[in-house]
């Protein structure tokens, strides 16, 4: 098998190529960064992950100059990079580093709040959630992020990520169970309130 010589983009100058790439990816950067941040739980890791993704894409011009649905395609690529390639080694072990970042952003302070929608923002709840999520595998975490934070259904994720529906569902079930168990480990944070009926109705 001979090596294949590529001459695509032969007549495009580096500046032009950068401009094209910028135009192609810019509308999706914020979303990519947000998802990467939720995958990794840390700003610097999120930037590293997105940067790694873009660098790989940029070096493969044939891939990004035919954007069918670039948004979907980019999310899938980000997911695959995170799940398959991203090494946790660069991150410190489950230390406070992971939680600090969430802490900074967690909105409300604890104040005896019982409404779950408001309680959910509290520092304590967000810290617990962060700790629980950091025990997940990358596969499980990614699915949970895309489902429960980004709002995709299991069916949508199956199409988006080109994964069998059964795979999406089993990752999601396991992720939800594990997060809930750890979330509840130190006492039930929901014990202080009871508003239920509208929840099941609303969903």
């Amino acid at each position: 098998m001979p090596s294949v010589i590529s001459f695509r983009h032969a007549q495009v100058s580096p500046a032009e190529r950068q401009a094209r790439f910028t135009a192609w990816v810019s509308p999706h950067l914020q979303q990519l960064h947000r998802i990467a941040w939720r995958f990794t739980g840390h700003s610097q890791d999120a930037e590293d992950l997105v940067q790694e993704l873009l660098l790989r894409l940029y070096r493969k011009p044939g891939v990004w100059d035919k954007p069918e649905q670039p948004g979907i395609w980019l999310i899938r690529s980000l997911h695959n990079l995170y799940v398959d390639q991203w090494r946790r080694t660069r991150r410190q072990p489950l230390s406070n580093r992971h939680n600090l970042d969430w802490d900074e952003l967690a909105g409300m302070a604890d104040s005896g709040e019982t409404d779950p929608e408001r309680l959910a923002h509290s520092r304590e709840i967000q810290r617990r959630l962060s700790a629980a999520m950091s025990t997940l595998s990358q596969e499980q975490r990614a699915i949970l992020v895309l489902h429960d934070m980004e709002g995709h259904t299991a069916g949508e994720l199956s199409l988006l990520l080109k994964l069998p529906l059964g795979t999406v569902k089993s990752r999601l079930f396991r992720a939800r169970r594990q997060v809930r168990e750890i979330f509840l480990k130190h006492g039930n944070p929901a014990a202080g309130f009871y508003v239920l009926s509208d929840e099941l109705e609303a969903t």
């Binding site: 001979p2 810019s26 660098l55 909105g107 934070m149 039930n188």
Partner: protein
Amino acid sequence: MNCEISQSLLDVPAEEIPAAARAQIQVHLETCAACRTAWHAQRLLGAALAAVPAPDFSEVAGQRLLARVFAFDTRRQQHTMVAAAAAAVLVAGLVTALTLTRYTQTPEYVFHNGTLILQSEQPTTVGVRFDSGSALANVRFTIDLPQGMQLAGQPGLRHVSWVGELRKGQNLLKLPVVAHAGTHGVLTAELSQNGGSRRFSLAVLASQPNPLAVRLWHGLTHQFDTGT
């Protein structure tokens, strides 16, 4: 509904739980404190997941990130060029042959008596093979097409030039072209590196799109795999 079923459904995303099951859970919860607590917790967890804030990522931050990507890419290319300069080999002595080659099962063109014969107006990808005695980086490839022929999908484009690399051994260039009826001329491929260069020429002919020519064209395909 019993506790086991009720609590097993905690792992199921809400949108996946059938309406009938939801109603049954509802009934069960009215009498079961343990499940009520579990479902409270699940609701809080769902709300907490939805409440994880989105970090700020400004347009400026995006531009900075892209600038880093481009800088990384450039740095890597420079490494390649340094390596090429150190090797200081001339492509002229090393690229020994240009061969037309077939790389698909269905040949779209023929090579006959030293001439590349194409069906006119048919976008065709011609396989051009360069054999190189060693790996060469930073090689400038220049392709010039004869009058009447152009790169497929690029009206009027007959000249293309870029810098790339050659691996040791066979290197395949897939060249998508289209030729108008009556085209006859010479395709040239020039490879240059560090001041040395090697130039290859190839006669090109576009056949008329008529049944006889097509039959002739098919008849010729068996003679295909030759040439220098």
